[in-house]
Amino acid sequence: MLGYVGRRLLQSLGVLLGVSVIVFLLLHLTGDPTRLLLPLEAREEDVRQLRALLGLDDPLWVQYVRFLGRAIRGDFGLSFKHQLPALTLIFQTLPATLQLTAAGLGLALVVAVPAGILAALRRNSMVDAICSIGVLLGQAMPVYWLGLLLIMVFAVGLGWFPAAGRDGIRSLVLPAMALGAFSMARIARMARSGMLEVLAQDYVRTARAAGLRAFVVTYKYALKNAAIPLVTIVGLEFGVLLGGAVITETIFAWPGVGRLAVDAIFSRDYPLVQAIVAVLATVFVVINLVVDLVYPYLDPRIVYVRSAR
């Protein structure tokens, strides 16, 4: 097990290194940030001075090695635009994003898992049809459109929740709904198909034949096994939502890392973009690792052993 974890950690480092190279190159392809940091009418000498101050005159590989050397020590440099350490800015905004993502995912799970199970148990019934329509809508509606619709109905029309900003738990509801909708649909679909598959298994039939109550069969035998693929989906979904938060945060003026990222990309704030990608990639990698490590506890058939050689 420990060997497996070690190997996975090494792989993760490789992934992060790859991500950092790609982001670094892509960013530098998008053009010179000094022109965006200075007024349009700035003179060439001011531009040159700023380029030198920001260290942008060095060859690209020198800049990358410098970036990597610092990043390993946890120093992603000063944000060009904000003149604050990039990590400080991220840690200021990350809690808001994690809160939104967790709320979105939580909401998705609370609605989607029971809905999926119900749809599977009452296959081809009205309940199933309603769930299917819900899934279709959830996956087809663009977050952007859904977000504005939620604002119009629940903030402007009914006045139940604030339209924008982050002021306590009430302001979390609408963005979480907008963010969670897509995942809700996907999780419900997975729960339904997983459940259907398990319900058709021999051991379920045997359990029923043995005269166990339907409730016990469903929740103790079937759901436990149907939950395994769900864990993978939830893990991946958390990562997807972290990325998806970019749009939701912009619509609802949610002060998270997604908005910080959009802003940083548009202003070619290299250090900040690199730091955000590194932090988000790390979160993603860690979640994947945790999901993989949870498997053996859910499914005793899965055992991590040293490779045969």
Binding site: G31, L84, L148, A155, P162, A164, I251, F252, A253, R259
Partner: protein, 499 residues
């Protein structure tokens, strides 16, 4: 007995607390803009939204009144004492929020801080002509310029005053996070991308502000910004698109405020690319081939004022006697025929979402040009960074939609960057224009200077380096409980708000 009174007492206390909180809320204001402040160290920014917010915390030496005329502020008077020396008397008894006195030393410190090589201020260019600050006495300074600079008073409206001891004590980074100025409001809190809160500085030299507390909220999405106004979450919102005005006005709690802006929108013709666009007659023909008034009426619902040249009416130097280009397709065709360009095909580039209805206006302009025989296609470059790069690299399409407003409101800052040969933004080269620009920006006699600008703007009108567009109308949504009218310099001053 004891227990009997406890509940009513608690309810009463709750009621009183609620009443007090409500009363306090009545004199609070929330303003929603598209973006957050970049810095609260005012010398680190040239961004207009950021300057507006900082304007509550910091004072400048001079300022602009509601008519945009230059008036005293922390400086009580200013005069030329030599061709290159301005003497400035300072207001006495003014204190920074930390108790530090404002004096000549602060002026010198603030001016020199911007020019420090290791200080990444984008304001360096604003004060490029300033040579040094001489302290005459604690409340008199002399600003020595490298060349005669008639724009110095306009520059002084942007000389924000920093507290020297405070900055030295806490450092540049901390001065940005916990700003200290002499302004009418004191800093309370800054939650990045969430809110900036300031509270009234009752010791301010202009007296107690009517607004007791103000919050600036960045709400980038227009729909959410409008919803925030409708739900009472915001009291003032900026950049209301003309097509939303009717919806907002249908609510009793909301009114619309409009003001002609310092921002002008036109279509830069890339003369320096050569080819047909180097011919003045072709550029004039383009102006005659577009019915700009019809576009303003249809797309902007009349919210714009046509331009006769490259300067808005609220900038000193504007000349109202210059005529507008007449919409005359026949004349356009004649001019094109005379230039031998009867089969012209052009591309017009436009941003998307930078200025009110920008893409739609560009499409309307291209449509009219095409209708009048000049086949024009629109290329939308949605990302602003990419758009800017085409301009600075001098690689724009044949025509590029352009917008301009600088907080100095100084005429030279309209013409030099945009029209002088070789300037980063300029897509135009003309020795006559260059000469007039240089004369006007060095002329110390105001009357003569104004004449020179009139002459310059007339040449620009005739030379037509733009399809002249319009002066933008700034449109705000305002909660009716506020007494406030907007200013033409895009600034929102909390001291101009009452209830």
């Amino acid at each position: 007995m004891h227990g009997t009174f406890r509940l009513p007492l608690m309810l009463l206390a709750l009621f009183l607390t609620a009443t007090v909180a409500w009363a306090a809320g009545e004199r609070e204001v929330t303003i929603a803009q598209g973006i957050d402040a970049e810095f609260l160290d005012v010398q680190m920014t040239n961004n207009i939204v950021t300057l507006i917010i900082n304007g509550a915390i910091y004072d400048t030496l001079l300022t602009r009144d509601k008519q945009l005329q230059i008036v005293p502020h922390l400086a009580t008077s200013w005069k030329l004492v030599g061709d290159k020396v301005w003497e400035v008397k300072l207001r006495q008894g003014v204190k920074f929020h930390n108790g530090e006195p404002f004096d000549a030393n602060a002026v010198k410190f603030s001016a020199e801080r911007i020019q420090r090589a290791d200080f990444k201020s984008p304001q360096k260019g604003w004060f490029g002509t300033l040579d040094r600050v001489e302290i005459v006495d604690p409340f008199t300074v002399r600003l020595h310029t490298k060349t005669p600079d008639p724009a110095m008073p306009a520059r002084m409206t942007l000389m924000y005053q920093m507290a020297p001891k405070y900055v030295a004590q806490v450092g540049d980074a901390q001065a940005n996070l916990k700003p200290v100025g002499t302004g009418p409001f004191k800093f309370v809190e800054w939650q990045k991308n969430e809110r900036i809160v300031v509270e009234a500085n009752d010791a301010h030299w202009t007296g107690k502000p009517a607004v007791r507390r103000a919050t600036w909220r960045p709400i980038p999405e227009l729909g959410a910004r409008i919803a925030a106004l409708q739900t009472g979450q915001a009291d003032i919102i900026v950049n209301v698109p003309p097509d939303q005005m009717a919806t907002l006005q249908s609510s009793k709690a909301i009114r619309i405020e409009k003001v002609p802006s310092c921002r002008i929108i036109s279509f830069t013709i890339a003369q320096i690319k050569g080819g047909p666009l180097a011919d003045k007659r072709v550029r004039q023909a383009l102006n005659h081939a577009v019915d700009m008034q019809a576009i303003i009426d249809a797309v902007l619902m009349g919210n714009g004022k046509r331009l006769n040249s490259w300067m808005p009416p609220n900038v000193w130097g504007y000349d109202p006697s210059i005529p507008l280009y007449e919409y005359n397709p026949k004349k356009a065709k004649e001019l094109l025929a005379a230039a031998g360009q009867t089969n012209l095909t052009l591309t017009l580039q436009a941003p998307n979402g930078r200025w009110a209805m920008d893409k739609d206006i560009a499409q309307a302009v291209a449509g009219q040009l095409t209708e009048n025989g000049i086949k024009t296609t629109v290329k939308v470059i949605g990302e602003w960074g990419a758009y800017v790069r085409t301009i600075l690299d001098h690689k724009t399409e044949d025509i590029a939609m352009s917008g301009w407003c600088l907080p100095s409101l100084e005429p030279d800052h309209w013409v030099t960057p945009n029209l002088k040969t070789g300037e980063p933004v300029s897509q135009y080269a003309n020795a006559e224009v260059d000469k007039l620009i240089e004369q006007a920006r060095a002329e110390m006699n105001a009357d003569k200077r104004k004449q020179l600008y009139g002459q310059l703007l007339r040449v620009i009108h005739d030379e037509a380096p733009y399809i002249f567009g319009y002066q933008q109308m700034d449109i705000y949504g305002v909660n009716t409980r506020l007494k406030w009218t907007p200013r033409g310099d895009e600034s929102i001053r909390l001291t101009e708000i009452s209830f």
